[in-house]
């Protein structure tokens, strides 16, 4: 019982744990509010959604104790096994999967629906860290970079047909770990530039992009230092490639994308200028976003108060207890509530970055980065979608959204890292 002695409790990062507890608590209160249906039942009901979530939270604490009680290098040692098991579980969905709300993402265990992609997120973070810290791996080599990329690409490809594009994005977010560990940031720059050109083409058209790029390059020529040599050929090639890409965007958008995708983009970027058609899009494909924005807006600065959210009670926002749980915070707790949640998430993420950076063990550090990437992408996409900054992508808000697999997955993700952090001084080598 030495691992459970006073020493480990002292060594845990209590700030992260405190924020974790606060987020879980706030999350549960809002799930309670968004699914509480009035006074028809007295006392507490464990078959209700908020009751089940409370059970999951209880199971969660058992899980936390188990994780903290394991040998500190357990996960490093078994990461490959865990990764393979989770891939097998993802593959198994094609045969045994249970379909809920159009997505075949669950195993029906009778008492519980298991979502293996949540487990795969932890497993992939572990596996990537393991591969990159392997004695034979050299991140500088293109081949090894590719293998590292493959580790996150495989689960991403496996979840896309479910369909679960949100989780696929989460796997891709692990490229942050690669960047941290040596892959040039240049790649990230190219990626962002591509997205920028894609969006700008949809919004303004190829002609404007050509004109603006032309002006930028001319300015570059005019303002450059005389001693600076101009890489004429690379710039020309980049320009031509960009314009060709921009031209292809329209083609892809019109011919490869399906109408529902186009609608999501036209809603997000306000591409549709005809107010009548825009209204139709808002009320159909944009219904969720429209309702969630309005619901948050109606909360105002102070909110309507606990259990007083009229739109929450009226069930105006679809999937409110899962992906749109943040709207309940917005309606009932107002700007004060939403700000609190944003600040808690920001502090937690920054704290985790700090913890990752102070790890002496490279595996721990990389895993830490994986944890931050996964949590950040969930938080960014979920809240960005709910408040209307991003197109609709179904992805839960960590520690908040209803769902046992998700909650257990995120908790495991976080506490494996907290366990590693508690051991950093012992293992320093």
């Amino acid at each position: 019982m030495s691992v459970f002695g006073k020493s480990i409790l002292k060594r845990l990062d209590w700030l992260s744990i405190l924020i974790f507890i606060m987020l879980v608590t706030i999350g549960w209160v809002n799930i309670y509010s968004s699914t509480y249906s009035g006074a028809e039942e007295s006392g507490f009901n464990f078959s209700s959604i908020y009751g089940k979530q409370l059970l999951f939270i209880g199971v969660n604490f058992v899980l936390i104790i188990i994780i903290l009680g394991l040998e500190s290098n357990f996960f490093e040692r078994f990461s490959s096994v865990i990764y393979v098991i989770s891939l097998a579980l993802l593959l198994g969905l094609f045969v045994f999967g249970k379909t809920i709300a159009g997505a075949t993402s669950w195993y029906n265990l009778g008492f519980f629906n298991l979502q293996p992609s949540e487990l795969a997120k932890v497993a992939t973070a572990l596996a990537l860290a393991k591969y990159l810290t392997d004695i034979q791996t050299d991140v500088k080599r293109k081949k090894h970079q590719f293998y590292g990329f493959l580790i996150l690409l495989i689960p991403a490809i496996l979840v896309i047909p479910q369909p679960d594009p949100g989780s696929a994005l989460v796997f891709f977010s692990l490229v942050f770990v690669l960047f941290r560990e040596g892959i040039p940031v240049f790649y990230l720059g190219i990626g962002l530039f591509t997205i920028l050109i894609f969006i700008c083409t949809l919004m303004f058209g190829t002609i404007w992009i050509t004109i603006v790029l032309g002006i930028l390059i001319s300015l570059f020529f005019l303002l450059k230092k005389k001693s600076f040599k101009i890489p004429v050929i690379p710039i020309s090639i980049a320009l031509v490639v960009t314009i060709l890409f921009s031209l292809s965007v329209n083609f892809v958008f019109e011919n490869v994308f399906e109408q529902r995708h186009r609608d999501r983009f036209s809603l997000w970027l306000s591409l549709e200028k005809d107010p009548k058609k825009l209204e139709v899009i808002r009320k159909t494909i944009g219904y969720n976003t429209y309702q969630s924005e309005k619901t948050i807006e109606s909360g105002g600065f102070f909110g309507k108060g606990f259990l007083e959210g009229t739109r929450t009670k009226g069930d105006f926002v679809p999937e409110q207890h899962t992906d749109y749980i943040f709207t309940t915070v917005g309606e009932e707790w107002g700007f004060i509530g939403t700000t609190t949640v944003i600040i808690l998430f920001s502090i937690l993420l920054l704290r985790l970055v700090y913890l990752a950076e102070r790890q002496k063990n490279a595996f721990n550090r990389m895993y830490g980065y994986g944890v931050v990437s996964i949590l950040l992408v969930h938080y960014f996409i979920n809240i960005g979608m709910v408040i209307g900054l991003l197109p609709t992508i179904g992805i839960p808000l960590p520690f908040f959204s209803y769902g046992g697999s998700g909650l257990l997955g995120f908790t495991a993700l976080l506490f494996i890292f907290i366990k590693m952090d508690s051991n950093r001084l012992k293992e320093g080598f």
Partner: protein, 630 residues
Amino acid sequence: MSTSFKMKKILLSSIIIIIGLSFLGRLSYLQIFKYSTSKIIEDPAIKAIYDYPERGYIYDRNGKLLVANQPAYDVMVIPREVKKLDTLEFINLLGIEKERFLKQLKKAKKYSTRLPSVMVPQLSKKDYARLQEKMRKYQGFYIQKRSLRYYDTHSGANVFGFISEVNDYELSENSYYKQGELKGRTGIEKEYEELLRGRKGVKYIQKDRFNRDIGPYKNGALDTLPEQGKEITITLDKTLQEYGEKLMNGKRGGIVAIEPSTGEILSMISGPTYDPALLVGRDRSKNYTRLYNDSIAQPTYDRSVLAQTSPGSPFKTINALVALQEHVITPETRIQCYNGFYVGNKKRGCHCGGGHRDLITGIAKSCNAYFAGTFRKIYDKYPTSDEAMDVWDKHVKSFGLGDFLGSDIPTGRSGSIPTKKTYDRMYGDNRWSSSYIISNAIGQGEVLVTPIQLANMTAAIANRGYYITPHILKAVEGEKITNPNFIEPKYTTIEKQYFEPVVQGMANVYSKPGGTAYYLQVPGIDIAGKTGTVENFTKINGVRKQLTDHSVFVAFAPVENPKIAIAVYIENGYYGGRYAGHIASLMIEKYIKGEITRTDLEKRMLEKTLDKEYAKPLSGEPFIINERVW
């Protein structure tokens, strides 16, 4: 550590902070900037259900019912609940054409598939009884009860006014009203809207996104109960009002009768009028358009409070009172009538028969010359016309003339009493004298009055020196009104003792041979009155053309302790004793005795119309005016 490595270390942290800040920016835009302190009504999750109280009943001064409510039945439809039905059978039952049925259904669908729309408005009671039991067969259709005004009389349309749906302007002005609600538009319905309508109750219902009710909002903490509309008693006498409107058959003009001791309006009649029931129910808007667009007879124009004309000879009584108060005459002062009088070298006529007139015979025979002389005496008392005019104005206006009366009739005109400024404008500063304005002596000149002002003036004479502002509201839920404006007397500037000779003159109009209404005496009732004959002109194709005189009459009775003061004004009714005099005496008899003894006189008034007279200027042919024969 290289810079690029440092940058990599802070990259993720920077992203976290940038995301956090942009979220906070967006949230402050949504929750602080865009958030409006919208009321719960605008929340789509809250439905307000209104409970409308019944509009208050209106009773006459004797407790007879005038206005009540009647149920009306609308056939409603909720389009998405409509199942396949036997259209032919159903439209036969509803009594409408198939085309209209389909059109209404389409309109309802366009408005909303899940909210009710009116399919057929306001069924008759008969149709309702027939439909009621068969309605269950037709899913998606149901009958909704509404409350409409019911009038227990065919009279008083202009007094009651009507109600109709609030318009957009009123919706923006007054937050009480919601789209589709009713509001008093004219008359009593407008003036006492808040008393009559009561206060609607409201229940807030929490809805879900399918617009289904899921329970009371905040357990009904904000709900209110409806407050019943108040029953009101008005000062009108139902019998007198109905009788007066019958007498106005085929005539244009106004009658206002007031109880002098209280200022209560006994009847207020405008001719031509219309049945108030026309502006209720299914055909309200169609009927209103028809009435409103009748630009010749103008039935919606309430002449009793809106028609401004010269008062004619009844105004002579005021001049007599002013002269007595100013001590320029005594009742015995005599003035010679040369079958007229001279203004400079011009002679102006008089019908009194000539002779040496004193005050009483001057009034009884309506001598123009006597009053021209009296008017001059008032002016000659003062060194300048300006001073004289100021004094005269002060006295005349104390009778409630020349300005709004301040009654509770929501419409009206001020009339006009000329001042020194009026004539300074017309003739130039100090370039006019009593000769220029002598027409005012006999109520022709620049004086303009409305029938209700004329009646009020007569009430002031009847009271010998004061009036109480005319009003229509008598009691609310049995409680007498306490508004001081309608209780406290308003004194004229004429002292009480000067009224007696004038009243005597007015009594002689009836009682003495040669009086202008001698033949209109009512056996058993002492009446004091004054005839008036008002010259009037119109323009036909740009040419000024005289028309048959307006017939005017004012009277009060009994002479001692008067119960009724009345003013009658009949357009183109010729001399005062003709139509107006007849009607006034009949009204007085009806009110005081409750029955008419002079049935031949009554018959004549009920049957005679002035349609022929009104057609004259429109015929385009030459015509004669003031025909002796009638």
